[in-house]
Symmetry: C2
Subunit: 141 residues, 2 copies
DNA sequence: TCAATAGTTTAGAATTATTCTAAAGAGACT
DNA sequence: AGTCTCTTTAGAATAATTCTAAACTATTGA
C-alpha cells in the first residue's frame, strides 16, 4: 500500500498510453516507464531492450521495435537520424536540436536557446516544409 | 582524334584521382566520370552502381562502396545522413544544406544563400564542433 | 463472469544495406 | 619483363530492422 501511494509511474504510463490510443499492455507500460522515468533520453532499440532485460522486464526485441515506432507515430517520441548504422528515439518531442558525438555514439540535446535558423528557404515546388533538423557533429578533443 | 580533343573527361578524372592520392584505375576513373560529369549529385551506392551498369561500365557493387568511401576520405565527396535505411554521397563538398523529401527519396541542395545558423552553441565539455548539418525535411503537398 | 473479438507479443525467418575475406588482377617502378 | 604493392571482386558474413504466423491478452458486452 505504501509503495502504491508513492509510485504512480504505472498509472502515469497507463494514462499516457490510453491518451495515445494505445492499449496499455504489460510490455508497453514497462517500456514507457523506462523511457520516461528521468529527463529526456536518446536511445536505440537495442539500448532500450538491453535496459529492459537488465531490469528484469520480459520483452522481446521485436516488441521494442514495434513499441518505439508506435510511440513515434503517436507523438510520444521523435526519431532522430544521425548515424547511418542506427536509429535513435528521443523522448524530447519539443522542437529542438542535437549534438552528436560519433566517437562515443552519444546524442544529446542542445541546451538553452536553440540555434536560430534565420529565414526558412523556399521548399522545392510541390512540397512543404515538415521539419528542420539541425545536428552539430562534435569530436572528442 | 576528334573525339579525344573534345572529351577530356578521362584526363580530368585521372588528374582528380592523382591529386587525391588514389591510383587511377579503370573503375575509379569510370565512377569519377559518372559522379562529376554534370552539376552536383546526391547518390547512394546502389544508385551509382545501377547507373554504371546501365552505361556498360563493368564494376562490382563492392568496388562502388569502396570507391565512395575512398573519395569521401579524400575530400572529393561528402557523406550525408538523412534516411535511416540508406547512405547518400554528395559531390558538392562546399559547406551547404539540404532539402530531403522522404516521399520520393530525393536529396537536393538548398540553393542560394544558406540558412544562417546564428551563434554556434558551446559544445559539450571535452569536444569541439566538427560540422553543422541542416536538413529541411519536406513533404509532397 | 465469461466468451467472443480484436489487438498484441514473440520466436525465428527473412530482408536490406553494408562490410569482410581472400584470391585473382592490374598499376607503378625499375 | 619482373617485382611489389595496391585494387578488384565474388561470395560469405554481419548488423539493423522487418516480417510471419501462431500463441497470448486486453476489452467489451451479454
Ligand atoms: Mn545502414
Ligand atoms: Mn539502418
Ligand atoms: Zn533530443
Ligand atoms: Zn548537397
Amino acid at each position: 500500500m505504501r509503495k502504491k501511494l508513492r509510485d504512480n509511474s504505472n498509472e502515469t504510463a497507463t494514462m499516457r498510453l490510453r491518451q495515445a490510443g494505445l492499449r496499455p499492455t504489460r510490455q508497453r507500460n514497462e517500456l514507457a516507464k523506462l523511457l520516461f522515468r528521468d529527463g529526456h533520453r536518446h536511445l536505440t532499440a537495442e539500448m532500450l531492450h538491453a535496459e529492459a532485460v537488465a531490469e528484469g522486464v520480459k520483452v522481446s526485441l521485436a516488441t521494442v521495435y514495434n513499441t518505439l515506432h508506435q510511440f513515434t507515430q503517436a507523438g510520444l517520441l521523435l526519431q532522430v537520424v544521425v548515424d547511418p548504422t542506427r536509429s535513435y528515439f528521443d523522448t524530447n518531442t519539443a522542437d529542438h536540436q542535437h549534438f552528436y558525438c560519433e566517437d562515443e555514439n552519444l546524442l544529446t540535446d542542445i541546451p538553452g536557446p536553440e540555434i536560430a535558423v534565420a529565414g526558412l528557404p523556399t521548399p522545392p515546388p510541390g512540397t512543404v516544409i515538415k521539419r528542420v533538423d539541425v545536428v552539430v557533429h562534435v569530436r572528442r578533443s
